[in-house]
Symmetry: none
Subunit: 229 residues, 2 copies
DNA sequence: GGCAATTGTGGCAAAATGATGGCAGATCAG
DNA sequence: CTGATCTGCCATCATTTTGCCACAATTGCC
């Protein structure tokens, strides 16, 4: 499945030039010479990445407008401004409008391609299963799954294995209430309800020993427990 | 929760300068003057963003090495190279190593801050999306089922389990009248009619305590109760 | 208004649930 | 083998919730 890149650029020569280069990299390229045609196309289908020139024919700031329109359609669509206008104001403006990068036309093709690849690498993480994240941060809590290490306000918390997996189950959906049964299932343990109570007790104790004001493990009477951010 | 930015830079003056600017933006900043100290710190806890100079003291490419180490620790950690070395080779190299941006030290502070903000905007999407919180909103009422939380005009209402499920049953079809029997069935409880009356009483009380003008649980004489929007 | 049916109120006791401290077996490193 | 740690569980105590009742208030209807 080749990625689709939309190139919005009013200069026909540049358009041609970059289209060829991008296609050589295996990207599928759609080009638009002005804002109306781009808008029309995007309303039908979004590309995987949009590269936009700011000045589009008579619309001096057409690219900015297009960026805003695009952001309304998708929060996550990668957008790169690619323009001759090399000044701080336009750059900052562009980034604030929701663009992911702002590049000037004097950079080399290799540089542009590297930027594009880096941005795709970043956005691929969005699509990837979230379970993979080895590091979970919620407020002052930091849980490193692969290392089985937990810190609270940067202070290491020495949890036992069972406690670790219970905490992991508790914060997997931050703020959600977990019944004792769910905690058992997600920590893969088969025990009595009262045992869960015991583990919660021991975990709380360990956190409170580090931070006397700790109270982020809520008891939801009759339901279970909840990690409160 | 303030975001933590790690700044790895061997020049003390620059370090100071940028630390102040970043702190003014509300970021928490940790600085490291060389690779070993940064490596050591990152092995304990990861920041939310790393800004890395490439040349670190005698290590001409220490920043590159650090970037690679960091990427091994986390696929998703945002990394920005920030260096005086302005050439295509280093830039492309840096981006290929997994950095999200490559900036040269001649850019303005405002530009740097805009780049940082843009990157955070992008990475926030990673943390946010899976929040399929089952939220029900009716007027000023907000019911989050998975969190077992109810708010009225954004003020949390502390309902008990039975009350929670009764409210849930009551608002499932907004505006419809629910008989006591229906409320019982939908809250999975088998009790006397008068008990339902009691629960309604207690719920009303809790809402009125927060908002004296509260009047959204209608009594429909002979029929049951109705949540009025 | 008078009457029967229905609902609101305050309160109470039983039941359910959770917290605590401790104990015994299991596990494990030295 | 020994001591330390971990784990599951229990008895006990404290707290919260729940169901229900008697009685007052309200409603619909004649």
């Amino acid at each position: 499945m080749p990625r689709t890149i939309a190139l919005v650029e009013d200069d026909a020569a540049i358009r041609e030039n970059y289209t060829v280069a991008l296609k050589n990299q295996g990207y599928q390229v759609q080009t638009y010479a002005d804002r109306p045609s781009a808008t029309e196309a995007f309303s039908r289908e979004l590309p995987d990445l949009a590269i936009i020139d700011i000045g589009l024919n008579e619309e001096m700031e057409g690219g900015f407008m297009l960026c805003q329109q695009l952001r309304q359609l998708s929060q996550s669509l990668p957008i790169i401004f690619f323009t001759a206008r090399d000044n701080d104001v336009d750059t900052i403006c562009g980034l604030r409008m929701g663009a992911d990068d702002y590049l000037t036309k004097d950079i080399s093709m290799a540089h542009l391609l590297a930027r594009i690849a880096a941005l795709f690498r970043r956005t691929d993480l969005l699509a990837a299963p979230k379970e993979h994240s080895e590091q979970i941060r919620i407020g002052h809590l930091n849980v490193d799954v692969s290392r089985m290490k937990v810190t609270w306000q940067s202070i290491p918390v020495s949890l036992t294995v069972t406690e670790f997996w219970m905490l992991h189950a508790l914060i997997r959906h931050p703020g959600h209430v977990k019944s004792r049964q769910q905690l058992m299932d997600e920590s893969r343990m088969v025990v009595d309800d009262s045992t869960i109570t015991s583990h919660i007790k021991r975990m709380r104790k360990k956190f409170v020993e580090l931070d006397p004001s700790f109270d982020h493990i809520d008891t939801v009477y009759g339901m279970g427990y909840r990690w409160q951010a």
